[in-house]
């Protein structure tokens, strides 16, 4: 290639290439094709909009490739679209204006995709057009003269089929060739009476130095279009600009021109003229294969039925299938802890390694199978185009609560685990809806509550297996009902917002691109391990410290040791368990448990349950093990008959009820209800913190759920005592 011999750019500092395009244009697939695994996912500062950057070397020059959020136009409606607009206009703090933009155009939906493409061209940024999905165009028997289009639009253009990785080489060659010089091009024009008012606003934008000369007309038209763009007017120029915009608006209205329709109608008229001259596209509607699939999948009866089946499958996968690798991880973590404990002398360091670090790491890694499986399904549903149909079918139902149709999947996933559920809220566009969904997701009964429910129901609730199953179902239902109720209240109070308008593209169904699905799973897993992992690990170490120190006085240890010589294996185990119990009582955690006893006493709990509640702050299922420790049952699990027995026999140490059993039926019911509501999961809190970019929302979630838990437990206990 000639450009190799005479490179147009000296190898120098990294340059920035931004990929822009409509949602569903194949932009991300093209991004993956260009960068492969050389990509990083983070957030834009201050917002939870995903920032994807990859790197690429072409002819010795380094490129950073930025995958901008998908957008339909530069008139932004969501935080994602605002980011894309600000970067393209060079308005974004911390992100330099890109040196080059590739606009990915879905060639099978040409006119609408050219709307954004021509807006980007208007900003004057050097641009290459990638006409993607050319295979669909050819299959439909349509023709697009890309060279002619390229000439009229004044930008180099290449044809690509991103999901077959066709045209990637041509695109990188075009990158290397691009000189950054502006080319001659035709432009859209406004009707005559609109020219003068728009020109005045454009002039003001240029004088204020906020828009490049070539970008100012488009920006002016957009500022005029929506009466509500005050925030942007303020940022650009304040009062003077506002008054110019106001008078230009009235000027347009007097001339009989609706400022709102001005840009869209003029631009589309011009786009249609351009594409009519450069393409041969069949306009008559023919039923496609996608239409026939849709006929079943959104059918009045089969649609919801198929959706239900699919959800059962997803639920089964994250609930049951994930259990198998989770058991392996659990076993591997225990084996690692045992190996370390066996190899090192017992002491503080060994305990920190085994009980603190290894089990802390274990409690993070254990969630990986669920996260990977859920994002496999979500990736598949997104990539095939089915997710848009889910929103289409669920919108009516979710709107009653005040949420978007897309909130359904995150809430459903939270039945398995709130962590992947909260991570899945990123598919919800409205920030307030995303927040509401995040805040109520932990109310859905996750799998970590099961051991606690199983233990308490088995030990204390009367009746046969049917009655116990019914109790379990009731606890699940309580979670769902309270999630709906809290969402309903939040949407009408703190996070009051209109249910956002539904403007939902239903793209044709397509075969999933497993490479994209796998990359997405990998991103999620890595993000979870990096971000949430560090928090969870540090909290695990703190909790270990609290339960290990201060150690048992030497005299007490000696007393236990004195009983050991000559004891049988069974007695030895009992002595060990009793020592562990004494150690727990003496530790900071034990003191804390006794310190908070007055707080939990109205609920009928003693300090031991207090410790259980505190230690299950790390993870709910720890409650079972903690009860095993305080009641000196070696190797306790929720099925353990000896643990059931100990719990039933437990009595008050002191106080007015000394000697009476602690766990009465009302207390047990109250405790169950407490676990339905309480946000006892440091991993969920860490993920919430990450996803909302603030500690306030996890703090709020913890506080409201704690209040619900306390009040709910009290009411449940009082009510049960009254009816029995």
């Amino acid at each position: 290639m000639l450009t190799r011999a005479a490179p147009t750019h000296a190898p120098g500092p990294k340059r920035v290439l931004a990929l822009a395009g409509n949602p569903n244009s194949g932009k991300t697939t093209l991004f993956n094709g260009l960068t492969g695994l050389r990509q990083k996912v983070g957030n834009y500062p201050g917002v939870t909009v995903e920032r994807k950057v990859g790197s690429l070397v072409v002819d010795g020059s380094q490129w950073d490739i930025l995958d901008l959020p998908g957008t339909y136009s530069l008139t932004a409606r969501s935080p994602e679209e605002a980011i894309a607009r600000d970067i393209l206009l060079g308005d974004m703090a911390d992100t330099p204006r890109p040196d080059l933009v590739v606009v990915v155009v879905d060639a099978s939906n040409l006119n609408r995709n050219l709307y954004l493409a021509t807006q980007v061209l208007d900003t004057g940024v050097p641009t290459i057009l990638a006409f993607n999905m050319m295979d669909v165009v050819q299959a439909a028997g349509d023709e697009i003269d890309i060279d002619a289009l390229s000439e009229r639009l004044g930008a180099p253009a290449v044809a690509t089929v991103a999901n077959r990785r066709d045209g990637i080489g041509e695109l990188t060659a075009a990158l290397a060739r691009h000189t950054g010089d502006a080319q001659n091009r035709t432009r859209w024009t406004m009707p005559d009476p609109a020219l003068a008012p728009v020109a005045r606003v454009a002039q003001e934008l240029r004088t204020a130095g906020v828009a490049r000369p070539e970008a100012s007309d488009g920006e002016a038209a957009r500022l005029l279009g929506v009466d509500g763009s005050r925030e942007r007017i303020e940022r650009y120029g304040g009062a003077q600009l506002a008054s110019i915009v106001q008078s230009a608006r009235s000027g347009l209205l007097e001339a009989g021109i609706d400022p709102t329709t001005l840009e869209a109608e003029a631009r589309y008229r011009w786009i249609r003229a351009v594409t009519t001259a450069t393409t041969r596209i069949h306009h008559e509607r023919v039923a496609t294969r996608s239409d026939r699939i849709d006929g079943v999948l959104t059918h009045r009866v089969f649609g919801p039925a198929a959706f239900l089946l699919l959800m059962v499958l997803v639920f089964e996968a994250i609930f049951a299938w994930a259990g198998i690798p989770m058991a392996w991880i659990d076993a591997a973590v225990s084996a690692a802890a045992d190996a370390v404990a066996g190899a090192l002398p017992s002491g503080a360091l060994t305990s920190l390694l085994t009980d603190g670090i290894i089990s802390g790491v274990g409690s993070v890694v254990i969630f990986l199978p669920q996260i990977l499986l859920l994002f496999f399904f979500i990736g598949l549903l997104e990539d095939t185009g089915y997710m848009a149909r889910v929103a289409f079918m669920m919108d009516q139902t979710m709107r009653r609560v005040g949420l978007h149709g897309r909130a359904f999947i995150p809430l459903l996933s939270s039945f398995a685990c709130a962590i992947p559920g909260i991570m899945a809220t990123r598919t919800i566009e409205s920030p307030k809806d995303r927040l509401v969904t995040t805040l109520v997701a932990p109310l859905m009964t996750c799998s970590a509550r099961l051991p606690v429910y199983t233990l308490l129901i088995a030990a204390f609730l009367p009746g046969g297996p049917q009655a116990k199953a019914l109790a379990m179902t009731g606890l699940y239902a309580l979670g769902v009902v309270s999630a709906i109720a809290v969402a309903f209240v939040l949407k009408r109070t703190m996070l009051k917002s209109e249910t956002p308008a539904l403007i939902l593209e239903l793209p044709p169904y397509k075969r999933p691109n497993f490479r994209s699905v796998a990359l997405n799973m990998w991103d999620r897993a890595r993000m979870f391990l990096q971000r949430a992992g560090t928090v969870i690990l540090s909290v695990s170490i703190v909790l270990w410290f609290l339960s290990y120190y201060p150690s048992l006085p030497a005299a007490d240890v000696a007393a236990f040791d004195a009983q050991r010589p000559g004891a049988s294996a069974a007695t030895l185990a009992e002595i060990g368990a009793a020592e562990a119990s004494a150690r727990t009582r003496a530790s900071f955690a034990g003191r804390l448990g006794r310190f908070i006893e007055p707080v939990v006493r109205p609920l009928g709990y003693d300090w031991r349950i207090g410790i259980g509640l505190l230690s299950s702050f790390a993870a709910r299922e720890v409650f079972v093990g903690a009860m095993g420790t305080v009641y000196s049952v070696g190797d306790a699990d929720e099925q353990s008959e000896s643990l059931h027995g100990r719990l039933r026999e437990a009595t008050w140490d002191d106080g007015p009820n000394a000697g009476q059993p602690i766990y009465t039926l009302p207390t047990a019911v109250g405790l169950l209800v407490f676990y339905v509501f309480a946000l006892q999961c440091v991993s969920t809190i860490a993920v919430m913190w990450r996803e909302t970019n603030s500690w306030r929302w996890p703090a709020f979630a913890w506080a409201y759920m704690a209040a619900l838990a306390y009040a709910g437990a009290w009411v449940a206990r009082t009510f049960t005592a009254w009816i029995t």
């Binding site: 008139t75 409606r77 959104t298 289409f392 919108d395 308008a501």
Partner: protein
């Protein structure tokens, strides 16, 4: 072609030419940017299983909006049901 009717009153299979868009500015701008501009033909494909939202064919692609918003888009029905 003089009679205009809300888009939401069309049955699946019917089509109309867009005459007017009402509603708040920001929604109208987005609908127009999505191709719902005066003079375009829009087909009603189907309603969701629970009756709302509606699926449209506009300029060769499928778009779904709520019936409430479709009520504020006025079209002149083209008469011949397609397909």
């Amino acid at each position: 072609m003089m009679d205009v009717t809300p888009l939401a009153s069309l049955m699946p299979g019917q089509a109309g030419v867009i005459a007017e868009l009402h509603g708040d500015d920001s929604l109208r701008v987005r609908l127009m940017e999505m191709g719902l501009i005066r003079g375009e033909t829009v087909h009603v494909l189907k309603y969701a299983p629970l009756g709302d939202p509606v699926e449209l064919d506009i300029a060769g692609y499928h778009l779904s909006i709520r019936k409430g918003d479709a009520q504020r888009i006025l079209v002149s029905p083209t008469g011949q049901p397609t397909r």
